[in-house]
């Protein structure tokens, strides 16, 4: 492996471990808002991983669906629940 290959391998593995941390934090936190905000960063890391693996079509779909529309629907649904309105 040449020099550039090693560095991009290190970047890919760092992003994978970081992805695991964000997923654990999004699942195990108590507050729902923190979970949603962490989910945005989860999909951002996935976009960078897709671009490193040379799949720009999957990265575009993830940028639009995962980071845009799904979070919108989640936020509106949490706003409509009974717990949130009576808190």
């Amino acid at each position: 492996m040449t020099g550039g290959k090693v560095v991009i391998y290190v970047i890919l593995n760092m992003l994978m471990i970081f992805l695991l941390f964000t997923a654990f934090f999004a699942v195990f936190t108590k507050n729902l808002l923190n979970s949603i905000i962490t989910l945005a960063i989860f999909s951002a890391i996935l976009i960078v991983i897709f671009v490193i693996l040379q799949a720009p079509d999957a990265a575009l779909a993830e940028a639009v669906i995962g980071a845009g529309l799904t979070l919108t629907f989640f936020v509106i649904t949490i706003n409509k629940t009974k717990d949130w309105q009576n808190e």
Partner: protein, 87 residues
């Protein structure tokens, strides 16, 4: 080019500490906004490293997605008792 990407990933990990530790929800929102823009810079730099300039489309779309995310979270994550408006 790759060492610049490593430096930006380091700054992302430092900012992620504020997202975990942040005492309130607006802290986490500000951390989310800055992490998103840093990932956008990583996308632009990666397209220059791979010499596939067409990957810049991903950065364009992801920039739109960040802005819509922040606006929707700001609109609908308000605590109820502080007197929001209808619709």
């Amino acid at each position: 080019m790759l060492y610049l990407i490593l430096a930006i990933i380091l700054s992302i990990i430092i900012t992620f500490y504020r997202l975990i530790k942040g005492p309130s929800v607006p802290d986490r929102l500000a951390a989310m906004n800055s992490i998103g823009v840093m990932f956008l810079m990583i996308l632009v730099l990666l397209s220059y490293y791979f010499e596939r300039k067409i990957y810049i489309n991903v950065a364009l779309v992801y920039g739109v997605s960040i802005f819509m995310n922040v606006l929707i979270m700001v609109k609908y994550l308000q605590k109820p008792e502080k007197g929001g408006s209808s619709d």
